[in-house]
Symmetry: C2
Subunit: 218 residues, 2 copies
């Protein structure tokens, strides 16, 4: 994606997830063009992408609205992630070279450092977490799988989940990754898939329990 389109995508996404717009409210291409600081053409491309990610929805008459994510939507997202990233972990276990596993371990050391102290560094955690998961997806060597996951994994949801994690939750996350690495070293696809599944399902429950307590991040 090219400069202006990418910028439009990033800005509009930030705009949508910043919490200042109400789900269900209508948006126009022109408004979004102003938000992004570019013309309608690249905005339309960004909108297409945001539509496939279901952050925007279209009325039958092609008008655009801010999507309203229900608990079922979140559940659906995590369920599909569990299935697809579980599959990715399985394939990765069959394909990862020792050197690549070393690299994963290094990333996870970084993640450990971010959360093992007294005051966890969420930003560092998120970054290492993203790199870790992306590396596994990459190692699955399945381009369609990668593409589908890229569209499914809404980092803002991951962020919101991570902010609800207790210090202990964060450490458990790091330990899940440790176990994943152990499964990779053992070359055990079933183990890898199972650990990944549990890891993501727990994330889902952390997310919804925080949500049910009337949370909003801060």
């Amino acid at each position: 994606m090219s400069k202006a389109s990418e910028q439009a995508y990033a800005k509009i996404r930030g705009f949508l997830l910043g919490g200042t717009v109400q789900p269900g409210s209508q948006l126009t291409e022109e408004q979004l063009a102003e938000v992004a600081g570019v013309s309608r053409t690249p905005v339309r491309e960004a909108m297409r992408r945001l539509e496939t990610e279901m952050l925007l929805v279209r009325s039958p008459s092609k008008r655009i609205f801010v999507a309203d994510w229900s608990r079922d939507d979140i559940d659906e997202m995590f369920t599909l992630r569990q299935m697809l990233e579980g599959h990715a972990a399985r394939r990765a276990a069959e394909r990862l070279t020792p050197a690549e596993i070393d690299r994963l371990e290094e990333v996870n050391r970084e993640l450990h450092e971010a959360v093992d102290g007294d005051t966890p560094d969420i930003v560092r955690f998120l970054d290492a977490n993203r790199v870790f998961h992306e590396a596994i997806t990459e190692a699955a060597h399945s381009p369609r799988l990668g593409q589908v996951l890229a569209m499914l994994v809404e980092q803002p949801v991951v962020l919101r989940t991570a902010r609800q994690y207790s210090a202990e939750d964060l450490k458990q996350s790091a330990r899940d990754h440790d176990e994943l690495i152990a499964a990779f070293r053992a070359g055990d696809p079933g183990w890898a898939k199972a650990v990944m599944g549990g890891h993501l399902r727990r994330a889902f429950h952390t997310f919804v329990s925080a949500d049910e307590n009337g949370a909003d991040g801060d």
Copy 2:
């Protein structure tokens, strides 16, 4: 998608899968605009979609080429379909109402009629088959799942597979659907998922064995 964009999508797709263009060859937006009979703007939208379906690929410098589908690509597509449509079948088994199952049965009667005679009607088969699978995906009530499958299920591949089916293969396909319906009536998600998995995996093997025999349709 709007008139010109939709038309561009359909025409370009037909152009790509018509076999007259060579995988790996470069295409320009202007060429495709001419093929589609519209301007570059809607063509660009269609191209985006064809990129996500991986019928087109982009070079690092944003130039566009006809994708070259390897056996592994086909395998990957069927594997993901098996996983996701299996999931859809499971969810459908938990949700389908008796009336909806009746409707499925009706569609499959049409499919039976298309293949049970001496000279199978492939077009009728394909149409009923598509409706049948789409109805199941719809019944899963999972919008993201539906979207991902829409992007994964390349009807032209389905067509090519169907043309390689023997009369007996076609009848077996119809019988698979019968069994799926039985699983739905029984409300047995595991059964539904298993049948769907086998159904699609067999389709994959029909496809590749035909492919390996140096086939191309006609």
